[in-house]
């Protein structure tokens, strides 16, 4: 009997977390890379008097999230490629979409962990009132992360077989996820206004939800044929 969808997904997640807890490699490198991104942006967006350009914080936060997310994606699947564990995972008597869901949950957790550190840091460095509407900001970040990670996990998984995966992942991932990043940046920028423009942020949250539904459905649907050689 094949185990249920949720059980498989949670087992894959548990496996990924166990490996990660042992070395903490992806967590540390991703976080360090995100911090380095923010530092590099400070050179571009801070004027000579030491004042950051108005409204730059939203873009900096999202680009740091997207860049570090890409790094985490390629590292996670590099690990699976090593000693062919991805093939073993796909050979397991479990439904393929469940394996995808497990990998996706792991990615989302990883990205959220980075965001938890990154958001206060960007708020601190760029004088951004991120926490005026914490719930709205959390929904924007959460939905944006789901959208980015859902496409990212699928693409990173299917690129494992190719030789040029490191180059192809960003080339494929960014154009497809630009709508998610636009929605995230614009929504966050609306929250940074004084007073925060809640209706605008809510509109973007709605759009992000629509993107997530489309991307997740497509990814779950196409994962099986894409991973079949």
């Amino acid at each position: 009997m094949r185990p249920g969808f949720l059980k498989v997904a949670l087992l894959v997640l548990k496996k990924d977390l166990a490996i990660e807890f042992k070395s903490r490699e992806i967590a540390y490198t991703t976080l360090f890379f995100a911090v380095a991104c923010v530092m590099i942006f400070s050179f571009a967006f801070v004027k000579e008097e030491g004042v950051p350009v108005e409204g730059a914080a939203a873009g900096i936060l999202w680009i740091a999230v997207a860049f570090s997310g890409t790094l985490a994606l390629s590292r996670t699947f590099e690990r699976e490629r090593y000693s062919e564990t991805l093939r073993a995972l796909l050979l397991a008597p479990a439904s393929r979409p469940a394996v995808y869901a497990g990998k996706l949950l792991g990615m989302i957790l990883m990205m959220v962990a980075t965001e938890v550190v990154l958001t206060p840091m960007v708020a601190f460095f760029f004088h951004a009132p991120f926490f005026a509407r914490p719930l709205l900001l959390a929904s924007l970040l959460g939905l944006g992360t789901i959208g980015f990670a859902s496409v990212g996990t699928l693409f990173a998984a299917m690129l494992v077989r190719t030789r040029t995966r490191d180059v192809l992942l960003p080339i494929l991932l960014y154009p497809v996820t630009i709508p998610v990043i636009i929605a995230g940046v614009r929504g966050t920028a609306a929250l940074l206004q004084t007073p925060p423009e809640e209706p605008v942020a809510t509109l973007w949250i709605g759009l992000l939800t629509a993107f997530d539904v489309v991307f997740l459905t497509l990814a779950l649907w196409t994962f099986e044929p894409l991973m079949t050689e």
């Binding site: 299917m158 077989r161 080339i171 154009p175 630009i178 709508p179 636009i182 509109l203 991307f215 894409l226």
Partner: protein, 222 residues
């Protein structure tokens, strides 16, 4: 069948494109934008053709991915190339229009940004095919499906966001407000759709011949 109607269709399309400048010249000026608005007839028609080839690419990518049909893959690659061609032409005509109507060559407007991204997705499609190595057709198919899935968002983007690009309602209500322009838009769209069809057919035939040649090489080696 395709071979027989290709030449007559090509002649019809050529005649339609030859007549189009005269028709555009004859249609009355639009009341606010005057002469500048005339680029609309080709600009809109380009994006109509682009929508059609995106739909072809999305559907044939799905068929290729789930059924593994070689012919579907030929249609997918042919239409992806056409998306890039029409997309670049559409962005170019939009840029010319924007220079006169908005005063800038490039505006970071929601519709313009999303449309550029859409062209980038299909450039990515072509890159995967070129540099992805063996089995890259499948990876490209995923790009085609996701690209086609974001296309409706690009279309609706102008209605949702505060933007400078005209909304979709402009075209929908054009038939009542300005019948002469509406008829001409339909005419130009038909010409561009025919052109897209001809290019697609020619490109698919090339792809089919290539695959036949490969098969013959393999057969000769055995």
């Amino acid at each position: 069948m395709m071979k027989k109607i290709f030449l007559p269709l090509a002649l019809v399309t050529a005649a339609m494109f030859a007549y189009a400048p005269f028709a555009i010249n004859n249609v009355p000026l639009e009341s606010t934008m005057l002469l500048v608005q005339k680029i609309f007839y080709f600009h809109f028609a380009t994006w109509m053709a682009l929508t059609a080839v995106i739909a072809v690419c999305g559907v044939s990518s799905l068929i290729y991915l789930f059924k593994g049909s070689r012919a579907a893959d030929w249609y997918a690659v042919a239409s992806a190339e056409l998306v890039v061609v029409f997309g670049v032409f559409g962005l170019f005509s939009g840029s010319l229009w924007g220079r006169k109507a908005w005063g800038v060559w490039w505006q970071w407007d929601a519709r313009v940004t999303m449309a550029t991204m859409l062209v980038l997705v299909f450039l990515g499609y072509l890159m995967v095919r070129k540099y992805g190595g063996p089995g890259s057709e499948k990876l490209a198919a995923a790009m085609g499906i996701f690209g086609a899935a974001t296309a409706p968002f690009v279309y609706k983007s102008v209605d949702w966001w505060r933007t400078i690009h005209p909304q979709t309602s402009v075209v929908r209500t054009l038939g009542d407000k300005f019948p002469a322009a509406w008829n001409l838009v339909l005419y130009c769209s038909a010409a561009f759709l025919l052109l897209a069809y001809l290019l697609l057919a020619a490109r698919v035939r090339l792809e089919a011949m290539r695959s036949e040649l490969d098969r013959m090489y393999l057969a000769a080696e055995d």
